[in-house]
């Protein structure tokens, strides 16, 4: 068989896809979610032999089944959104802060400290703002440490912030040895359970409503800050090109440190809300992996705080739904992680098809190779 003299074309070719219209991009994303759901259902159906429609029903019931479930879904959404909002300014600047987990924990630790030591003596009108300020400062300091190294020594912020997570986790584990109820039990228990000192207020009998309102306000603030403020403009310029930023007279070091401090401070708010606003206790699991999941939430929303409401909802909905499915069908709780993994795989995978075009070798050249 002699080779034809046509040039050899690979079976699959990938090219950058510029300018896919917005509606088409969203169509691809929706398709990805639909396919993910079909695959998940298929997977569960093979394992449990249930009716596939039951699968979707349980998923929705897990989120919206009762009033309590709706509130708890909204609370999770708010917390996820809060951490995602925290990451966003840093990401817009191309500072890959993956240390939100640790930054949230530092804020949580600061809140716990004040609740335990001042919760029953200080007036709540002073105490709660103080808790907010201190936890924001603690988290901001934790975040700024890698930022200073980045700004002055150009260290890799991804690794640096990641490592800071482990330091924070161990630090909180250490603090717990002072705060735990029974020595050695590793359980702090509910802080100020009887006096409710330092607990964030409940509004209209809804314990999560205050958290949700705070995060909503934060979302609006972040949208305006990034889109209309001078700071927001500086952030995008530094993100696009540090040299351009320098050329037009932006103090790059200052912008990096200021922005990461803001990122950390909002993580501090997340820590505050998780301890004083809902959990009323602390453990090394307080951040609950949100620091990592939020990276994706922020990224998928293209760093747009308003779109992040939707992406947080998608992630929270699937996580909760998957866990409901695991309980409803008597599967191992890790099955929920598997399902979440499958869904996220498709959602993230869809970005590939938005950013790139895939070309298959045409039939003509394929024939030529025979």
């Amino acid at each position: 068989m002699s080779k034809p003299d046509t040039h050899h074309e690979p079976l699959i070719r990938i090219t950058k896809n510029v300018g896919m219209p917005m509606w088409k991009a969203w169509l691809v994303r929706i398709a990805a979610v639909v396919i993910a759901l079909v695959v998940c259902a298929g997977f569960i159906v093979i394992l449990t032999r249930i009716n596939p429609f039951e699968f979707y029903k349980v998923m929705i019931r897990g989120n919206f089944g009762t009033k309590r479930k709706i509130w708890s879904m909204l609370q999770n959404l708010a917390m996820m959104l809060c951490v995602a909002l925290a990451l966003t300014p840093a990401y817009k600047m191309r500072f890959w802060n993956i240390g939100a987990e640790g930054q949230v924990l530092m804020g949580a630790a600061a809140t716990t400290f004040l609740m335990i030591h001042l919760g029953n003596s200080l007036n709540p009108w002073i105490l709660i703002p103080l808790m907010a300020i201190v936890s924001m400062i603690c988290s901001a300091v934790w975040a700024v440490i890698p930022a200073i190294f980045k700004a002055y020594f150009n260290t890799n912020e991804t690794l640096f912030t990641l490592m800071m997570n482990y330091v924070a986790t161990q630090f909180v584990a250490f603090l717990i040895t002072f705060w735990e109820g029974q020595k050695g039990s590793n359980t702090v228990g509910i802080i100020n359970g009887t006096t409710q000192g330092g607990w964030l207020p409940t509004i209209g009998g809804q314990k999560y409503l205050f958290n949700i309102l705070i995060v909503f306000a934060l979302t609006v603030f972040m949208y305006i800050y990034l889109k209309y403020s001078k700071h927001g403009y500086e952030i995008s310029v530094v993100g696009e090109s540090e040299n351009t930023a320098r050329y037009i007279g932006i103090n790059v070091k200052k912008v990096i440190i200021r922005t990461v401090a803001l990122s950390g401070a909002i993580c501090g708010i997340a820590g505050l809300l998780l301890v004083a606003g809902s959990g009323h206790t602390i453990s090394t699991e307080t951040a609950g992996g949100r620091g990592f999941t939020a990276i994706m939430v922020s990224w998928l929303a293209k760093f747009n705080p308003l779109v992040m409401i939707l992406t947080s909802f998608i992630v929270v909905f699937f996580e909760r739904g998957a866990s409901e499915i695991a309980t409803a069908f008597g599967l191992n709780v890790k099955m929920a992680d598997i399902l979440t993994g499958i869904i996220l795989f498709f959602i993230i995978g869809s970005e590939f098809f938005i950013n790139y075009k895939v070309h298959f070798r045409s039939r003509h050249t394929e024939g030529g190779n025979k």
Partner: protein
């Protein structure tokens, strides 16, 4: 080629969906033929919600509860929908939310299995006074004043003492065979957290072992987690490398028993039979059988009877058990020695924490009033001429939190 692939994929998808559709009817009628025991009590009004810290398929601790749930369900002829299990529930606000959700779903009995769940269950109990809440291993019910909140535990220290006898017999056999010298009889123990529940456990195990092998000593290492297979394995291996010739553990993963089987070091386990994991090394396990308690609380819900606010199961109630003795590994005469000790427990002549049998800083305990949560209360009692630390009698949860001579415990090692 491309089209073919596309068709193949499409066909696969269709088949998957078709397969599901076809099989869906089979599932509906599976729980009809449960053994309907002829009892006078009508259990149809009872719906129990269980909250487990980890998934029972992973964690031996939660598996032990799940086994009791299954046993009682079968025994009382409860239907699937009368039992709701929520596993993997952390010791956070989520625990309270889960409890309240179970109430929303119609549960009138709620049971949580982990120490750290307690305060969240108490909060839920305050909000739902019509629902009975039960919490295993907790310490607060007797003083909380919440009428519908209960604690339960079992005198597992007796079970551990018995398992300790099996360990001591094995060590004696090793000494007799010349495998080790008497002064090298060091036991290794992998504990979860350094507090009374764990300390009481290993002390009773150690005292059991030393009751038959006088030269025994023990080294304890903690994992600072209830479930961390890698850490439990690492600590078990560290203990073996440190010269321990027998390992036991109080943590919930199969990490330590597996490490022992690899290193061919005998192991005494907790809560589940580990002979499958270590056919040539597993000796025996002590366990709490939660079935008697679960049966009691379900009966109470059906009949409206009251359950003790703080209940402690014993060998007599069937709550403290030993799993099957692995005859291939255990020393000869182990079963007889255990049976003899059980008789003495029943007669009240043998006490695990007999003050004459151990010393603290070289002295025998005469008084002890510093137990956590029981400050000021005397824990030392005398019965049948034996002066002993009266474990699990003031409250059901263990409060023996003293490191005795012969045991070296390194925190956060």
């Amino acid at each position: 080629m491309k089209k073919f692939l596309a068709i193949l994929l499409a066909a696969m998808l269709v088949f998957t969906l078709a397969a599901c559709g076809g099989n869906s009817e089979e599932t509906t009628t599976s729980d009809e033929n449960t053994s309907q025991e002829a009892t006078d009590i009508d259990y149809s009004s009872v719906k129990v919600g269980y909250i487990f810290l980890h998934d029972p398929t992973d964690s031996t601790y939660d598996k032990n509860f799940q086994n009791a749930v299954d046993e009682v369900k079968e025994k009382l002829g409860l239907k699937d929908e009368q039992i709701l299990v929520r596993s993997g529930i952390p010791e956070t606000e989520e625990c309270k939310d889960t409890a309240l959700e179970l109430v929303d779903e119609g549960c009138n009995v709620i049971f949580a299995d982990s120490f750290g769940h307690e305060q969240f269950i108490m909060e839920a109990a305050k909000e739902c006074p019509e629902v009975a809440f039960y919490h295993a291993t907790g310490t607060s019910a007797s003083t909380s004043g919440i009428e519908n909140f209960h604690n339960a535990f079992a005198s597992i220290y007796e079970g551990r003492y018995l398992a300790g006898i099996a360990a001591g017999m094995k060590i004696n056999e090793m000494i007799e065979k010349g495998e080790i010298k008497a002064e090298d009889a060091k036991i290794g123990y992998v504990g979860a957290f350094p507090y009374a529940e764990v300390i009481s456990g290993y002390t009773s195990f150690f005292l059991g072992a030393r009751s038959v092998c006088e030269s025994a000593t023990m080294e304890v290492k903690y994992t600072n987690s209830w479930f961390d297979e890698a850490a439990e394995r690492t600590q078990a291996i560290a203990l073996i490398d440190d010269g321990c010739i027998l390992i036991s553990q109080h943590a919930d993963s199969p990490g330590a028993p597996r490490a022992c089987e690899e290193r061919k070091v005998p192991n005494v386990a907790y809560n589940v039979n580990t002979i499958d994991l270590g056919p040539t090394t597993a000796i025996i396990s002590s366990k709490i059988n939660w079935a008697p308690y679960m049966e009691m609380i379900i009966k109470a819900a059906a009949t409206g009877e009251k359950v003790d606010t703080d209940w402690c199961g014993t060998i007599a109630t069937g709550s403290v058990e030993l799993t099957e003795l692995n005859k291939d590994v255990a020393a000869e005469g182990t079963q007889e020695a255990i049976d003899k000790a059980i008789e003495e427990f029943k007669a009240g002549t043998l006490k695990v924490f007999d003050c004459s049998k151990f010393t603290v800083d070289g002295k025998h305990l005469e008084t002890y009033t510093e137990a956590y949560g029981l400050e000021g209360q005397e824990c030392i009692a005398t019965e049948n001429g034996v002066t002993f630390f009266n474990e699990s009698s003031i409250i059901s949860a263990p409060y023996f939190g003293i490191i005795i001579d012969g045991i070296t415990a390194v925190e956060n090692a």
